[in-house]
């Protein structure tokens, strides 16, 4: 049995490589907000209140492009609706927690943290304090995101644009799913999702980000039926 502290540290270690892409992206997010002419305090408030990478950029871009607040808020909701899927996966491992603890831990569930903690959970189902791993990944992500966006806001885009560091984001997610390329069913699900996301990229409110996972999960369900 690992102690709470060991699990927390393990979570921190498991997510830390992703900071290679998260920190430059956070700096870019902060800098874009200020460049678009928003109050620096508001740009930072988003990192605290929304705490959701790409959705923060989309929100500001929509508002500065003249979209109504309603459209901007709806887009953030739709982009972030993928967390519902993460929650459904994690609920199995977190069910023993009290309601209050579930409410608190929910705030730090992010893409990379979900991915790394889920991998850990699958291999260590019997640990008593599993959720400390999720707290470790989530808190590391939270702290780095606050510092990165804040430094982008204060210092401007000191990351040279020519480097194209936004490209690090798809790379970080490639690192997350690449080992599943060994399994043909996962490959089919990934390609379905990827192609759907390109096909529906222009759908309103950035809804491709949830439409394509739903299509891919339908395909996964079909594959499971075929396997039997």
């Amino acid at each position: 049995m690992l102690t709470k502290k060991q699990l927390f540290t393990r979570g921190m270690l498991d997510i830390s490589p992703h900071m290679l892409s998260v920190i430059p992206f956070g700096i870019i997010c902060g800098a874009i907000g200020v460049e678009l002419g928003f109050d620096p305090y508001l740009v930072y408030a988003m990192s605290f209140i929304i705490f959701g990478g790409a959705s923060q950029i989309v929100f500001l871009q929509l508002l500065s492009g003249g979209a109504s607040s309603l459209v901007a808020v709806a887009s953030v909701g739709i982009i972030n609706s993928r967390h519902l899927l993460y929650g459904a996966v994690l609920s199995e491992y977190l069910e023993k927690l009290s309601f209050i603890k579930k409410l608190l831990i929910s705030y730090v569930v992010v893409d990379q943290g979900f991915a790394e903690s889920n991998k850990f959970f699958k291999k260590n189902r019997n640990e008593e304090f599993l959720h400390y791993h999720l707290i470790g990944t989530g808190c590391t992500m939270w702290v780095c995101w606050q510092i990165a966006t804040l430094s982008g806001i204060v210092l401007g885009s000191f990351v040279p644009e020519e480097l194209g560091l936004k490209f690090a984001i798809p790379l970080t997610f490639i690192a997350i799913v690449v080992q599943d390329l060994k399994k043909i069913d996962h490959v089919i699900v990934m390609i379905t999702c990827g192609l759907s996301s390109l096909l529906f990229f222009d759908a309103p409110f950035k809804s491709y980000i949830i439409i394509s996972p739903i299509i891919a999960l339908f395909v996964a369900a079909l594959l499971l039926r075929l396997k039997k």
Binding site: L63, A72, V73
Partner: protein, 105 residues
């Protein structure tokens, strides 16, 4: 005005995170659903990966010879063999930079 919108966006985002964790119990999800949920990472992350590679900042498709495609392929190969996150990201970035700064310059 903007702050109000941010707060609403934040509450909405929090609900997407909290709903399934706090309001769903294990018994509500059947074995079939759980089996499908095994595929969530594979079903969600390509929706971030593909547009990040194949669609540019202006929302249009990139050319077939775009350096990002090469960078992504290198990242997939290095990631698959090394099982290392830092190696995957660095390999993708470095090969991308090599093309834009050295080859196409």
């Amino acid at each position: 005005m903007t702050l109000t919108a941010i707060i609403f966006a934040g509450i909405l985002t929090y609900f997407t995170r909290m709903t399934m964790i706090a309001l769903i119990s294990r018994d509500m999800l059947g074995d079939k659903i759980k089996a499908v949920l095994e595929y969530v990472p594979s079903a969600v992350f390509p929706a971030i990966i593909f547009p990040g590679i194949f669609i540019n900042d202006f929302g249009t498709f990139i050319e077939i010879n775009d350096p990002k495609i090469f960078g992504a392929l290198v990242a997939v190969i290095v990631g698959y063999l090394s099982k290392n996150i830092i190696a995957t990201i660095s390999a993708g970035l470095v090969s991308y930079w090599f093309l834009i700064f050295v080859v196409f310059n």
